[in-house]
């Protein structure tokens, strides 16, 4: 439950907490052992130098995992301007229930997050209504139109931690080159939604057997791969960091792998749905299986898993994309792309990565904690003493059934309703404040 009096993070008291007897998994420090973790003054406490005279609140977490607070660097909070779908308040509640202590908000709001004043508004709104840490991103191009550079320096000064046109893809290679060059001055990464609009024109599902059978316009993998290739080349040219969002195809994994082997500063991320579902799941024209990029084939799925396993892909995220039920309840072609992620993400990753032994817990948690923190230059994602007391406690064996009607999110667009899953966050602690406990 989220305590009912919590309207914002600062409503929860900073507590002195002893998480007793859990398995502490801290990938950044290669730590994996049973023990006690102490949180004090909003920071991780050094067990060898515990302050005296503190009245510790001891929480018995034996049998559970104690991990750095989970980070999701790809979330659509929809505020400002689309608050019928989600708000910073509801989206951060969904994140808290999902075990996330930090999320990164995408800029395709109304208005777009392409000015310092909009960033200031988001940060103030987060201060007033968010239950966890929210970091905004700013646009690459003005109004995400892909034509003119957004005021990236001002956006960084206002507080964004990454630059992206997510939802859109800059088609003009010259503009993308200049964006990468210019952004190098500010020490923030560029995230790119990789989609060539000519190659994917009109596409709503993966181009292949199922688009052929269902008669739905195909969105071919090549439309993603062309842009991933371009990004690798522009990153090599400029030396700038480029992060390719929601990789979905085998070819993209191969391109990123080869580029990284050559020392190019390119990274990628994988979403739960792309490894839990395939294009065949679209057979019933259910729009909760429509997202961008689309679900692909078993072969693509295997390549994504291999990329996660061999370290080509260092980051896991959700692309949490709320839409109102009435918006989704239309013909497949006309429905908006996107599905919810935050409240099912962890358990879907357990099902797709831990249970089939693609990754061990430490490797998986690294992709949800320290790796995104490093990409974003955030001083988070570890349990090192002195760092922020952002901690998630996970019961790895808790069995539960997804019920979309129980979601904290304002929206209900999940393909996982009714799924029986294993593993769930039981405590979400942000800066020593307990914002969620089951």
């Amino acid at each position: 439950m989220i305590p009912s009096h919590l309207k914002k993070l600062s409503d929860a008291p900073v507590e002195s907490i002893c998480l007793h007897g859990g398995r502490i998994i801290d990938p950044a420090n290669k730590r994996d052992e049973v023990g006690d973790l102490y949180l004090h003054n909003g920071k991780i406490a050094d067990p060898n130098q515990l302050p005296q005279g503190v009245n510790w609140r001891t929480i018995d977490v034996r049998g559970q995992f104690v991990t750095p607070g989970l980070i999701d660097l790809h979330v659509h909070l929809r505020e400002p301007g689309q608050s019928a779908k989600e708000t910073i308040a509801t989206g951060t509640r969904a994140a808290a229930v999902g075990g996330f202590t930090t999320i990164v908000a995408m800029p395709n709001t109304t208005p777009h997050a392409d000015s310092a004043s909009t960033i200031a508004w988001i940060l103030q709104r987060a201060e007033e209504t968010a239950l966890i840490n929210v970091y905004p991103t700013g646009c690459i191009s003005q109004k995400m139109a892909g034509e003119l550079l957004a005021p990236i320096g001002s956006l960084v000064k206002a507080g964004v931690i990454a630059i992206t046109d997510d939802g859109n893809c800059v088609q003009n290679n010259e503009l993308m080159r200049r964006a990468l060059e210019y952004t190098k001055m500010f020490d923030v990464p560029i995230f790119d939604h990789c989609q060539d609009y000519n190659l994917s024109a009109g596409g709503v599902i993966n181009e292949g057997y199922w688009s052929t059978v269902l008669g739905l316009p195909g969105w071919p993998a090549i439309a993603e791969e062309v842009i991933v290739s371009r990004n690798a080349m522009l990153s090599e040219l400029t030396g700038a960091v480029i992060h390719c969002q929601h990789l979905s195809s085998a070819g993209s994994v191969r391109i990123v792998r080869e580029a990284r082997q050559r020392g190019i500063k390119i990274s990628g991320e994988v979403m739960p749905h792309h490894i839990a579902l395939t294009d065949g799941d679209t057979e019933g024209y259910n729009t909760n299986f429509k997202m961008n990029p689309p679900l692909r084939t078993k072969r693509d799925q295997e390549a994504l898993l291999e990329g996660l396993s061999d370290g080509t892909i260092e980051i896991l995220a959700s692309d949490h994309a709320p839409h109102c039920e009435y918006e989704k309840e239309v013909e497949f072609n006309y429905a908006p792309f996107g599905i919810l992620g935050l409240e099912t993400e962890l358990a879907i990753f357990i099902k797709t990565l831990i249970e089939p032994q693609v990754l061990d817990w430490s490797d998986m948690l690294a992709k949800l904690t320290i790796n995104p923190a490093r990409l974003l230059h955030l001083d988070k994602g570890t349990l090192t003493p002195g760092k922020d007391a952002d901690v998630t406690v996970i019961n790895p064996s808790l069995e539960w059934t997804v019920d979309k009607n129980q979601f904290q999110s304002l929206s209900r667009n999940t393909p996982f309703h009714g799924w029986e899953l294993r593993g769930r966050a039981t405590h979400t602690i942000v800066g020593g404040r307990i914002v969620y406990q089951s």
Partner: protein, 323 residues
């Protein structure tokens, strides 16, 4: 022993089994007999309400369904997209619920988006008939096409899945965007025919092989053996999508010209779902020639649609029609 129709809707051929296709064909055969009488009307659907909801332009299919419903004595209303509240932004769901609230029994939907009839069927207790959805399916077209082929080539004593066994059928043209092709691929395959798709590589992707058919990009390799050649309309707008350079080039590579017709079997059946582009996919005189069954397809379409309306409203099959 006899097959019974047990579906609320007719959305696609793919999920049907051969016996169900056979039931529709047998029922249509009985109605075709009715249509040859001087009084072409039966009371089977008296008191039932049928709505023709056409969100995409159509002359042939809409008229055919409308006449079929009238021949069965149903009350029928036809709505075209220009005059519908889609123009005012009403959703398909709401339009469907409103039509159902007027106690409609059957809604016949033509729609540009694949899956739209299924979407509607899942939300209504009224029956839904797919009259063509995007590039997905056009089931009554495939039923009337196979009915027409069966009239000439059918093995009437064979099991349901062998009625067209051994028959070689070529479907030529814009396969990628064709719902007629998809429905026919399933229907002809379920009845045992050997189907070869023919068209330019850009309009006939390799994935079609996985639907259990052969594919060819050289019409001249296929013509001599084919018992049936079905030509599909070539849409001019495909040129803008860079899918082929010009109609002239299309005709030279894939058009059924007089030259090519000479190499066909003398008894070859030439089909086209219409509307035809004379001089493009087919030489004009061939469309009117002795081998063409293009107008028989239209006549049979009426009987097929009567059969479908009849079965979906609880009709018991061909025996019921005679009685």
């Amino acid at each position: 022993m006899s097959t019974v129709w047990k579906h609320k809707d007719l959305l696609a051929i793919r999920p049907l089994d051969p016996a169900e296709i056979g039931l529709i064909h047998d029922t249509a055969r009985a109605f075709k007999e009715v249509l040859s009488r001087s009084i072409k009307k039966v009371p089977s659907l008296r008191g039932k309400t049928v709505i023709n909801l056409f969100v995409e332009p159509s002359t042939r299919t809409r008229t055919s369904f409308e006449l079929a419903a009238k021949r069965l004595s149903a009350d029928v209303v036809s709505i075209a997209s220009e005059s519908s509240s889609f123009k005012k932004g009403e959703t398909l769901k709401d339009t469907g619920l409103n039509l159902q609230a007027m106690n409609s029994d059957i809604i016949i939907l033509r729609h540009p988006a694949a899956g739209a009839p299924q979407f509607l069927a899942e939300r209504l207790h009224a029956g839904v008939i797919n009259a063509g959805d995007g590039a997905h399916e056009h089931p009554t077209q495939a039923l009337l096409d196979t009915f027409t082929i069966l009239e000439k080539f059918g093995k009437h004593d064979a099991p349901a899945d062998q009625k067209l066994a051994g028959l070689k059928i070529a479907i030529v043209g814009d396969i990628q965007f064709s719902r007629v092709a998809r429905s026919n691929i399933w229907a002809m395959g379920k009845l045992g025919a050997e189907v070869t798709l023919v068209g330019p590589t850009t309009l006939l992707p390799q994935e079609f092989r996985r639907l259990g058919v052969k594919i060819s990009h050289r019409i001249d390799d296929v013509l001599a053996e084919a018992n049936v050649i079905m030509l599909l309309r070539i849409q001019h707008e495909r040129q803008k999508q860079q899918l082929f350079p010009s109609l002239g080039e299309y005709i030279s590579l894939f058009g059924l010209t007089h030259e090519r017709f000479k190499r066909c079997r003398p008894d070859v059946m030439i089909m086209h779902p219409g509307p035809i582009n004379r001089g493009v996919e087919i030489a004009s005189e061939l469309a009117d020639g002795l081998n063409s069954v293009i107008l028989q397809q239209v006549t049979n379409g009426l009987a097929i649609r009567m059969a479908v309306l009849y079965l979906l409203t609880g009709g018991s099959g061909p025996q019921g029609v005679k009685a």
